[in-house]
């Protein structure tokens, strides 16, 4: 059995609502997998189902052979799967260091040590550790959200459109950080609108259309595919 396995998952926001229509999806330990596709294809829904915010009506989700279906989001965090939502992913009225502290809430004994490591890795946060999160720029906020997830030393990081709304330079820096995090053997699922960047960062990719996998394969091969270039990469 693999690291993360999603098999035949049907899920949506209400019982009757099927956004994912029998999706199969796998992630191996330590790899970056990107998920691209049009709006409404079910990319964010997939991450929410893995993170425990949605319970699939059918299908199985396992992480290191343990079922995640019906497990509370906080217990999934404890198992080493850290989810970073696209929006509202920091606590705006709390300082950067308080945000990190809540990020590591499930492992209080290691908080001080992890905080030191995380702040050393992201100097931009170290310089603003006493600032309220609402005063950070969009790029800094996304980095804080990712840093909060790293406080629990996850084995799998789920990033929902981290570059959305960022200026190109800030997005570039963010993808650099994603690569750096992955070098520490953290597997990453990257849901992105920015298909060319995502395919450049990832090793493997899934293209979701209407709740199902339309294409999957090596990211480099998909990036070179003329159909995919035409539809997602603008030429």
């Amino acid at each position: 059995m693999g690291f993360l396995n999603v098999a035949g998952v049907v899920a949506g926001y209400t019982a009757a609502d099927e956004i994912l229509k029998g999706l199969d999806f796998t992630v191996a330990a330590g790899e970056i997998v990107c998920v691209i596709g049009p709006n409404g294809a079910g990319k964010s829904t997939l991450l929410k189902a893995i993170a425990g915010l949605l319970t699939p009506s059918r299908g199985a989700i396992t992480f290191k052979d343990r079922s995640l279906v019906g497990v509370l989001p906080r217990d999934i965090t404890r198992l080493g799967v850290a989810y970073v939502p696209q929006e509202h992913n920091v606590f705006p009225s709390m300082s950067v260091s308080e945000n990190l502290e809540i990020g590591g809430y499930v492992a209080p004994a290691r908080t001080a040590e992890r905080m030191g490591q995380v702040l050393a890795r992201f100097p931009v946060l170290a310089n603003k550790r006493r600032h309220a999160a609402r005063t950070l720029s969009g790029g800094e906020r996304q980095i804080l959200a990712m840093a909060m997830a790293l406080m629990v030393e996850p084995e799998l990081l789920l990033l929902d459109e981290p570059s959305a709304g960022l200026a190109p330079a800030a997005a570039e820096r963010l993808f650099e950080e994603v690569r750096a995090v992955n070098r520490d053997k953290v597997a990453i699922v990257l849901v992105e609108q920015n298909a060319s960047e995502a395919l450049a960062v990832a090793q493997r990719a899934y293209i979701l259309v209407d709740g199902r996998t339309s294409r999957t394969g090596q990211a480099r091969a998909l990036a070179a595919d003329p159909d995919i270039r035409r539809i997602f990469l603008g030429g």
Binding site: P85, S93, M94, I102
Partner: protein
């Protein structure tokens, strides 16, 4: 000479208002922390203030405890009743939305107030306090008991700020107030935080009820008479903001006292309404906005 007298009267009212406002801040913080986490205005703060005042009365008069331990009893009893009443009565309302829950809290407060009336009757009761002469300076008077009440209110407010700023539970509470879904993902148990906030919030209401009663007397309507000022303080400062509740309480407390310069005491409660009206018209989010901390 006349100017001198008006100035002294003004300063006396200002002093009284600042002291009243500091005491008002305690139940206003209770109301605002409950709003910050549970997202509804819990008007049962009124009956819990009364319950705290009576619990403190029993401790002070029937059991003969001094004011300080009696205040602790007021906090604990009101907190426990708050925890139970939220768990058993208000929690089932929450799925129906905040207006339904707020109305449910009004019904709850009437019911609890009548339980107090059933047990203690309607007459006015006073705490067992040593008689002490007022202190005078520069033409102003202040009672030693008032100063003690002020010190207690300041200490409680400082303790709440320290709790929110430095403890793990306090930070978790602020995280839930900021973003409950994210706090849940990060491992904060929303149910535990809801219970903590019901206990602490209603405990503060009870403590505040006793502080209000120490200055005058208590009866089953003690909390009901104060709720407008408490609510006004929380709204003026920004519902859900703890520093806002303190600022709002001072504004309302001082405003109510200064109104005596031009109005009969009968119209004093109009100040609360006026403050709410003004804030909702000019700055609907309150003076400090809706930040939890």
């Amino acid at each position: 000479m006349r100017e001198q007298r008006v100035l002294t009267q003004f300063l006396q009212l200002l002093l009284n208002g600042a002291m009243a406002g500091t005491i008002l801040a305690v139940p206003a913080i209770g109301l605002t922390v409950i709003f910050a986490v549970l997202r509804f205005p819990n008007f049962a703060v009124a009956s819990h203030a009364t319950i705290g005042a009576f619990a403190g009365y029993v401790a002070n008069v029937s059991l003969g405890l001094p004011v300080l331990p009696a205040i602790v009893v007021a906090f604990l009893v009101a907190g426990l009743v708050g925890l139970a009443s939220d768990e058993l009565i208000l929690k089932p309302f929450r799925a129906a939305g905040f207006i339904t829950t707020a109305i449910g809290s009004i019904a709850l407060t009437i019911a609890l107030e009548n339980v107090v009336r059933f047990m203690f009757g309607n007459e006015l009761r006073g705490y067992d306090l040593p008689l002490m002469r007022d202190w005078r300076f520069a033409g102003l008077r202040v009672g030693p008991q008032q100063v003690e009440n002020l010190a207690i209110a300041l200490a409680v407010t400082a303790a709440i700020f320290a709790f929110l700023a430095f403890t793990r539970a306090g930070k978790a509470m602020r995280a839930v107030a900021d973003n409950p879904t994210l706090a849940g993902i990060k491992g904060v148990n929303g149910e535990t935080i809801a219970r903590t906030v019901s206990f602490v919030g209603m405990g503060l209401a009870g403590l505040g009820g006793m502080l209000l009663g120490l200055d005058t007397s208590i009866d089953p309507l003690t909390g009901f008479r104060a709720i407008l000022s408490i609510f006004a303080a929380a709204v003026v400062g920004g519902l859900g903001s703890v520093p806002g509740a303190v600022v709002g309480a001072l504004v309302v407390g001082i405003g109510e006292e200064l109104s005596l310069l031009i109005l009969s005491p009968n119209y004093r409660s109009a100040v609360g309404f006026l403050a709410i009206l003004l804030v909702l018209t000019v700055r609907p989010r309150g003076i400090l906005g809706q930040r939890a901390y």
